[in-house]
Every structure is written in structure tokens, then in C-alpha cells.
């Protein structure tokens, strides 16, 4: 059976035009998707049943047992951490926040190790952005800064920017200038009309120079700024200022480079500066398909997009203190529930070691690095394949993923609801 308009639950582009062929409970082909999408749909090898670590080996257990033990671990903990969430749908994330609330736990999502600093910058100066269709239909200048879409968001350029014709850009490839700013050559920089190669750690200075030029202070620019010539800076600023609609997209190459949130603040203020001359927008290239959804859901329930600590009864937010990495580094956390992410692969070593020391439960369809640190793992249906729910694209557009077939696994929502019910019963 061929299913059309399938939503890809891999990256923040959340492409919704895939055609997927399904036979029984197996995906056999994927059209329109990129290679990452094919891998996601076709290379889906799942853990068969819940497992529990007993000494050095794993024992298969039932869902009921796994759920009951997880609830018990969480109820026993003084400082539980509920981490992950970017790989599941909003309805499950919502149960997660309520679970944290009732437990007095900390809940955090993967923003903590990717666009957390971008959020801090937005909280300082705001965010002039737009939906991706605005860029597709209008933009004549697109800037990728510290982002390599060809690699990380393979269809970003063809669906939304460089190669995508729009209402006011009938021949996108000709009508549109692409600027790539990065510290190294990438597959994306080859495609740029203007590649700006910055010294590592030099983004902040280059952004400041560009802001000065836009403000009319060309005279103060030295011959070279962090590896970028004055001529090129002038050229880039001129391209931006003469744009009818410009769009900046930034990636973790800017967010996680030295300067972190200050880089993003500078990039936003550069956009704001340009907005006084013409139309300009800026947007983060969010990685996981529904990481932005976790920010949204956390926010409407608790008020904060990540790193929310309910230990005081109220929702408390202080990144640097209530962020997962910090809580784990301090050895403070005494139980962890990981949902739909792989901190074992992405956290600093000492954090992973702490996860191995405490009871860690993972709810995830696949065996991954975190499996090796966990005490229990509960496999679930994969959102976008055999589970459906709400996801938020990198620009905030909410899309409902499709369920392609009825599989044998419960989904994140169902498992979390059961854990929540036990915890609620115990907490009264």
C-alpha cells in the first residue's frame, strides 16, 4: 500500500510530502525523502520487548512490569530528571511535563545540548522570524551561518530556499543569492554565491563588523576581521542591504561556537539592524524533528522552553543550574527517565557515567548508546511510522504525523500515561 503526504519524523524540516510504501508492518520504499529519511523509515530495527539489566545480562520483562518498576524508581528518587523529548510527539511531551510536575522533578529537552544558547539570546532580544514559506516565496537573499544544510537538513535548500521556486521568485536559482558563513569548507559552502570563511571563534567579531557597516560606519572596519577581508564584508553587507527579503538561518556552528548565546544575540541584532533598511528575518535550524515541539509544549504548560525544575512546587528555570548536563555533573540527580533521545551519545563523559551509576530508564524503540547506561528500556512505536501525534517544524508550523500501520508496540503517550497514573495514585 502506498501512502502519500507522509510526514518525515527525522529532522526539523518536517517534510510532509513523502510517499511511503508499506507491506503489513514493514516499510518497503520511500519516495521524495532524503537519505536520512530513507534510513529512518527503512533501517528501523527495534528492540522487541522491554528489558531489565540483571547484573551483566538483560532479562526480558513485560510492559506492565517495566512500567511499574519505572514508576517505583521515579517515586523513590529525591531529584529525578526527565530528559529527552525531541524525538516524540507533543501529546507524549505533555504527559511528560505533568509527570515532572507531580514528581517535583526536573524536565529538560535536547535543546540543552543544541539550541539552548539560541533560546537564551531570544529571551534577551527577541526573534524576528517567519515561516519557511515566506522565505520560499519571497527571499532573494539567504544566509546560512554555521549551518550545513546539505548534511544535516538535506532538503532545506530544495524545499524552502536555494532551489525552490516561489510566488515572487519564479526562478529561484537565478533570483536568489546564497551566502554561507562557516569556519570550514562544507558541502553547502560549495553551493554558495558568496562563501565567507571565518576563523574559528571569530563569528562574533564578523557579525559586529557587519552591524557596523549596516549602521554606516564603514570607516572603522579594519582590512581584515577574523580571516574575512574588508572587501568581502562590504560586499556581504551590500548584498544584504539591497535584498528585498533576506533570511538568515543559523545552526549549531554558530550557537555552540565560542561566544554561544552572545553570537546569536549579535546575529539577531544584525537582522534587526537590517530590518530598518529592508525586510530581514532570522531562524534557527532546529535539528530533531520535534525538538521545537518540546519547547512549545513545555512553554504553554510550565512557562519555560527547557530546563524546568519543579522541585519547589512552582516551575523554576535557570539554565546553567537546572539544565541536565549541570545537574548530572553535580551528581545531584538520583534517577533519570530518558524519552526519545540518546544522551549517552551526546552528553559529556562524566554525565554519561553518572547516568550509569543511577537508575536510568529509557523509553525508546531502538538500542542505542544510552541502552548501555540504562537499567530498564521500554521499546515503543515510532512516531511517524506506527504512532501519530503533533510535531512542530523548525519555524513553529504544527503538523500531525501519520501512522502508517498498526504495529504491536504501545506508543510513548500510552506508556507515559500508565506511569503517570501509578505516580498520581501514589502521590494522591
Amino acid at each position: 500500500m502506498k501512502i502519500e503526504d507522509v510526514v518525515c519524523s527525522f529532522c526539523g524540516c518536517l517534510c510532509d510530502d513523502l510517499v511511503v510504501e508499506v507491506e503489513g508492518t514493514r516499510v518497503i520504499s520511500v519516495e521524495n525523502g532524503c537519505t536520512l529519511a530513507s534510513e529512518k523509515f527503512l533501517g528501523d530495527h527495534r528492540l522487541k520487548t522491554p528489558i531489565r539489566r540483571d547484573g551483566n545480562s538483560w532479562t526480558k520483562i513485560s510492559y506492565d512490569e517495566a512500567i511499574a518498576e519505572t514508576a517505583e524508581i521515579l517515586l523513590d528518587a529525591d531529584r529525578p530528571l526527565l530528559y529527552g523529548w525531541s524525538g516524540t510527539f507533543g501529546e507524549a511531551q505533555s504527559v511528560g511535563v505533568h509527570l515532572a510536575e507531580i514528581l517535583g522533578a526536573v524536565i529538560d529537552n535536547t535543546s540543552t545540548v543544541c539550541h539552548g544558547p539560541s533560546i537564551l539570546a531570544i529571551q534577551e532580544v527577541g526573534h524576528p522570524g517567519c515561516t519557511l514559506g515566506q522565505v520560499k516565496n519571497r527571499a532573494d537573499v539567504v544566509v546560512y551561518w554555521g549551518a550545513n544544510p546539505v548534511d544535516a537538513h538535506p532538503r532545506h535548500m530544495s524545499r524552502y530556499t536555494t532551489y525552490c521556486d516561489g510566488f515572487f521568485r519564479k526562478d529561484a536559482f537565478k533570483d536568489r543569492k546564497v551566502i554561507v558563513v562557516d569556519v570550514r569548507d562544507t558541502e553547502s559552502s560549495i553551493l554558495a554565491d558568496e562563501f565567507v570563511k571565518v576563523n574559528p571563534g571569530g563569528d562574533y567579531a564578523v557579525l559586529s563588523a557587519l552591524r557596523a557597516i549596516v549602521r554606516g560606519k564603514r570607516g572603522i572596519i579594519p582590512p581584515e576581521v577574523e580571516g574575512v577581508s574588508r572587501e568581502q564584508l562590504f560586499r556581504v553587507a551590500d548584498i544584504c542591504m539591497s535584498a528585498k527579503f533576506g533570511a538568515v538561518f543559523f545552526g549549531v556552528g554558530l550557537t555552540m561556537a565560542p561566544g554561544k548565546n552572545k553570537n546569536i544575540r549579535n546575529a539577531i541584532e544584525f537582522t534587526e539592524e537590517l530590518s530598518r533598511h529592508t525586510k530581514f528575518t532570522i531562524s534557527p535550524m532546529r535539528g530533531h524533528w520535534n525538538v521545537y515541539g518540546s519547547n512549545e509544549v513545555f512553554t504553554w504548560i510550565s512557562g519555560y522552553p527547557y530546563a524546568v525544575d519543579f522541585a519547589r512546587g512552582i516551575a523554576f528555570y535557570n539554565p546553567g543550574e537546572t539544565t541536565s548536563v549541570d545537574i548530572l555533573k553535580r551528581g545531584e540527580c538520583d534517577a533519570c527517565l530518558v524519552v526519545a533521545s540518546d544522551p549517552g551519545a551526546h552528553f559529556p563523559k562524566e554525565c554519561a557515567e553518572h547516568l550509569a551509576r543511577i537508575p536510568t530508564v529509557q523509553i525508546d524503540p531502538h538500542v542505542n548508546v544510552t541502552t548501555h547506561l540504562s537499567r530498564i528500556q521500554i521499546p515503543v512505536a515510532v512516531a511517524g511510522i506506527d504512532a501519530e501525534g503533533t510535531a512542530y517544524r523548525m519555524d513553529g508550523v504544527p503538523i500531525r504525523t501519520r501512522k502508517l500501520f498498526q504495529g504491536q508496540y504501545p506508543d510513548d503517550f500510552e506508556v507515559l500515561e500508565k506511569i503517570y497514573a501509578i505516580v498520581k495514585e501514589a502521590k494522591g
Partner: protein
């Protein structure tokens, strides 16, 4: 059968013509009935003021821009927080509370129905998700059409029926309630960093004017036979001298509907400025209300501002940028492809700012100078003018000249030279307030047909009992008691259930989402219109099949169906 009998209630129910009588209200299975079942629970209202549940016809509580207001403002989240308690979840936020925060605060003030003022169709799913998490109010969504490409094309072709067909398809797809136009044409122009400065400016590339968009949509709305009228946020919000744009707009409005207004103008305070700059800005409330008084087919809401801190958020992207150029605090903007825009900035309205004092006076003047309370509803465009928790204070100001005089001593002394407020003696009465906070909204929104806004048999049993005994207090003098009374009900009853008591929410909510569906003949079904679908697939970034909001997002959806005259 679950029953409830409210005895000895001092009832004001303007729609039913009850102007303050001690009576009993019988409830059975969520409805007002003639006689309560025998085993009905009894509440003795002891002569306290009892009104239909409050209805807010314009507030920003759910959806993309509201949530972004929270997201970007941890300082606001910290400014109002409560712990989990009983059935109540944790809440955060002062001017942009979390969804449960909004819901509990509204409920304890006796509000049972709230209309979200601006929903971008493309992002409707988000609004509906937050509606579900705002469990104590029935919710409705104004749906944005101000920069809708298909609508503007129909306007250019002078094809009212096609404009109507686009609206019908969209409302039904996104489960919206009514047509909202926010700075019509201006949000599209903002896609190029531009704006409209009169209603006769031409929208770039589309060759239509705001006046044409407004005129066409008013007619389209009536062709679709929708419950509410077009809901308009005029062009030029917040600009000195903008009252002319507002008057020009009102002059466009034909009288097309015998049951309600043909146009609803929102937050008119922000659109009633004289002068030419921020230095000589003055009140034009007299001009505006003179016109409103002679134009019975137009209804407005106040858009009152109150002093203090808040967050402004609107689909009017260009206006927010202008505001940002004045305040230089922080600025967010979010344009939505083919449809609309939005912007957010935090603000502080200061008693020491002459401009803010003039704005404050204008809102009150609009309410005091409009003869017919059904034509001027109470609102702050929450949170733009102030968060809705300030409504009780506004009621106090409207009911007490003394309160206004006391405020006068604390604001910029030059204010009185720019506004007529202090020459107005009028003090509103309990009946006026009942109209301006529920009955007027129910009528203007056209939701009396589903039992909203009144208390006679057949109505929804949404009731608010306030700790106020109208015969025993003089609101003109004891205005602080009025403010306290409207801040916290004794009982808030939603669909026959006590949901809040003495400021605390006591049950889990189970709200409905009210939406409109106008049935059009097959040839006007845009879902199968080749031109519409081709453009959709070509220019949107989501597939047409993935665009409609699925039924699961409206666990208790309530559809108001109508037959289109197409």
C-alpha cells in the same frame, strides 16, 4: 440527571430582560431549566449578584504568538507563579500566563467563554492544542484573513462569492469561528517591510486596498451566514491621527444583518488618536463615539490600557516593529506565509508618560460616551492593554467618578488638556456592566443561539455569583468593593457544575471548542477547485492534505452550522 438550584440570586440577565431581581435559577444536566430535579444540590446565593458566565470577545490566550510571548519572557513567567494545589496545575506568568494560569484566573473571575483574538490558519493546530489545555472556558478562534492571498485575488476580481468560498473552506479546515482582519493588506505589505497608512493605499503586487478587502469581507461574511460579523483590527493602530482611518472605516460599513452588527471593531482605544505626533497626541473619543452612537450596526470593544507592565502581541507585524522603534526593548516577529503576520514586544504603561495617560483616558471615554452599552464591550485586548485580571479595576473606574478623580491625581497633570475624561459625569450601572462583560459579547458573537450569555430555560448553565450585594453598596463610593467583588466569584458554574469557589478551581475542566461551518454549494467548494488547490500545493510549504485540523484536536467540538447564500 445532575441538578443544581441557585436560590435567592440577585439576577441581572440583560438578554432575558431581567434587570436585577431576586430569583431562583434551576439547572439540570448542564442547562437552565424551569424546575430543578428533586435531588438537586442547592446553593444559597443570599442575594449576591448573579450573572451569566463572563464572555471575553477578544483576548490573546492560545496559539503561536501567545506561546512565543511566554517563550521569550522568563521575566514575565517569574512574575506570576503558583504551585500545584488540589486539581490545579502549576501556573506561571503575569501578562502571558500559561494555559492553565489563564484558565484558572478567568474562571475565578466568573468567565466561562473566551475568544482567542487571532489565529493564523496555518498554525491553527497549535491554537487548538492550547485550547484543550485551557479547560475551564469554552473557546473560539478568530481566524486571520487580512493577508490571505486567495482572498485578495478574489477581492481584486471583485468576486465576493469566491472570497466567501475561501473563507468557508478555511474556517472549516482550521475549525475557526469567525473572520478576523488585522491591519488588512498591511500584513502582506510587511512581507516586504512595508505597511498601509490609509485604507486606500494599494497592497503591493495584489492591487487591492484595505477598504476593498474590508468591504468585500463584510459582504462575504453575510453570504456565509456566519454567527459573528467580520472582526476588524483597523489599519494604523497606535498612530497619532489614526481616528480618521477609523472613521473612514466605519463609513464603509453597510447594515446587512438584523440580528447583530455588521462589523465588530476591536480595541478601539488604540484607534482613537488625534494629533500628528507623540507630542500632540490627543483623544478623539468624542468623534468616534458620536459616530458609533449614530451607527447602530457597528459594535466595538474598548481595548483599555491599564498602568503597569504587560506584553503586546498582535498579528499586526508592522505595528509591533514601529512600537519596538519607540521602546527598544525586545522584539519578535513571525510572518505566516500566504496569510498574515505577527509581532510581540513587552511594554510598560507609565502614569508618568503623557501618551500613556491619554491612552488610558481614551479607553474609559469610549465606554462612558457610548450611549448603548451593547455597542461598547469591555476589553483590554488582553494582554495588549493590560492582562485581563485588570477587568475588575476597569469596572470600578467605569462605575465611579470618584475613582477616576483619585486616579487623576496620580497621572501626568497635563493629561486633562488632551482628553475629555474628567468632564464626564456618567457612572455606569450594574446592568451596563452585565451587558459589557457577557450579554453584549454573546449577542455580538452570535452565540446566544447555542445558549450563551443568558439565564432563562434552554440556556447553557454558565453562571457567575459575585460577593456583591447590589442594593447594599454604592459603587460610586465603595468602588474598592466592586473591584474586589469582580476579582473573585463566590461560585463559578460551568455547564451546571461548580468549577470555582472563592478564588479556587475545584474540578478538572472539560471545555468545548466552538467553530463555524458554512455549507456552500459544490461549485464553491475550494477543496476541489483546481486553481485554489494548484496554488496551495505550489506556494504553501505544507501539503493541502496535511493542513486541516483533525477532529482529534477538538475532543468536545461544537459546530455552528449555517447555510451559505451562494
Amino acid at each position: 440527571m445532575s441538578g443544581l438550584l441557585i436560590k435567592n440570586a440577585f439576577v441581572i440577565d440583560p438578554i432575558s430582560g431581567v434587570k436585577g431581581e431576586i430569583m431562583d435559577i434551576a439547572i439540570c444536566d448542564g442547562k437552565i431549566v424551569e424546575e430543578a430535579p428533586r435531588d438537586a444540590e442547592i446553593i444559597d446565593a443570599k442575594g449576591h449578584l448573579t450573572l451569566p458566565g463572563g464572555i471575553d470577545s477578544h483576548s490573546h490566550v492560545c496559539g503561536t504568538k501567545v506561546n512565543f510571548g511566554r517563550y521569550m519572557s522568563p521575566e514575565d513567567m517569574r512574575a506570576g507563579r503558583t504551585a500545584r494545589k488540589g486539581v490545579m496545575h502549576v501556573t506561571s506568568g503575569y501578562s502571558v500566563p500559561t494555559t492553565f494560569g489563564n484558565s484558572y484566573r478567568y474562571s475565578t473571575m466568573g468567565y466561562t467563554t473566551v475568544l482567542e483574538g487571532a489565529m493564523a490558519p496555518l498554525e491553527a493546530r497549535h491554537t487548538h492544542e492550547e485550547f484543550t489545555a485551557t479547560p475551564h472556558q469554552d473557546m473560539l478562534a478568530n481566524t486571520l484573513f487580512d493577508g490571505n492571498w486567495s482572498v485578495m485575488e478574489a477581492v481584486r476580481e471583485k468576486d465576493v462569492k469566491r472570497a466567501a468560498a475561501v473563507v468557508a473552506w478555511t474556517l472549516s479546515a482550521v475549525k475557526g469561528f469567525a473572520i478576523k482582519l488585522t491591519n488588512p493588506g498591511g500584513t502582506e505589505a510587511w512581507g516586504w517591510g512595508r505597511d498601509m497608512s490609509t485604507i486606500h493605499d494599494v497592497v503591493p503586487n495584489f492591487e487591492v486596498t484595505p477598504a476593498e478587502i474590508i468591504g468585500t469581507m463584510i459582504r462575504a461574511n453575510e453570504l456565509l451566514n456566519l454567527p459573528h460579523s467580520v472582526h476588524l483590527h483597523c489599519n494604523n493602530l497606535g498612530v497619532p491621527g489614526n481616528y480618521r482611518t477609523t472613521l473612514d472605516t466605519i463609513s464603509l460599513v453597510p447594515d446587512l444583518n438584523k440580528d447583530r452588527q455588521s462589523l465588530y471593531l476591536t480595541h478601539v482605544q488604540f484607534h482613537s488618536y488625534g494629533g500628528t505626533t507623540w507630542r500632540d497626541i490627543c483623544s478623539k473619543s468624542e468623534d468616534i463615539t458620536r459616530t458609533i452612537n449614530s451607527t447602530p450596526h457597528v459594535v466595538m470593544d474598548m481595548g483599555q490600557i491599564m498602568f503597569g507592565r504587560t506584553t503586546t502581541m498582535t498579528a499586526d507585524g508592522p505595528m509591533e516593529f514601529k512600537l519596538y522603534m519607540l521602546h527598544h526593548n525586545k522584539w519578535s516577529n513571525h510572518d505566516v506565509e500566504l496569510e498574515t503576520g505577527s509581532g510581540i514586544i513587552p511594554v510598560y504603561y507609565s502614569r508618568k508618560s503623557l501618551v500613556n495617560c491619554v491612552m488610558w483616558a481614551i479607553g474609559l471615554e469610549l465606554a462612558l460616551l457610548t450611549k448603548n452599552p451593547w455597542q461598547c464591550l469591555l476589553s483590554t485586548d488582553s494582554p495588549n492593554g493590560a492582562p485581563f485580571i485588570k477587568y475588575p479595576e476597569i469596572i470600578g473606574l467605569l462605575m465611579s467618578r470618584r475613582f477616576r478623580e483619585n486616579e487623576r491625581k496620580m497621572i501626568d497633570p497635563r493629561t486633562e488638556h488632551f482628553v475629555p475624561l474628567f468632564a464626564i459625569d456618567r457612572e455606569l450601572e450594574w446592568y451596563d456592566i452585565a451587558v459589557m462583560t457577557r450579554a453584549g459579547q454573546a449577542k455580538a458573537l452570535g452565540i446566544t443561539r447555542i445558549g450563551k450569555g443568558y439565564l432563562t430555560p434552554g440556556a447553557e448553565a454558565d453562571v457567575a455569583i459575585y460577593p456583591i450585594k447590589p442594593g447594599e453598596i454604592d459603587p460610586s463610593v465603595e468602588y474598592q468593593q466592586v473591584v474586589a467583588g469582580f476579582s473573585r466569584t463566590l461560585y463559578t458554574i460551568k455547564r451546571g457544575r461548580v468549577v470555582a469557589r472563592d478564588g479556587e478551581v475545584v474540578v478538572e475542566g472539560a471545555n468545548s471548542t466552538i467553530w463555524s461551518k458554512s455549507n456552500v454549494p459544490a461549485e464553491y467548494d475550494m477543496g476541489s477547485d483546481p486553481e485554489f488547490t494548484r496554488k496551495f500545493e505550489q506556494y504553501y510549504t505544507v501539503r493541502m492534505r496535511n493542513y486541516p485540523v483533525q477532529e482529534v484536536y477538538l475532543p468536545r467540538g461544537k459546530m455552528i452550522a449555517s447555510e451559505a447564500f451562494l
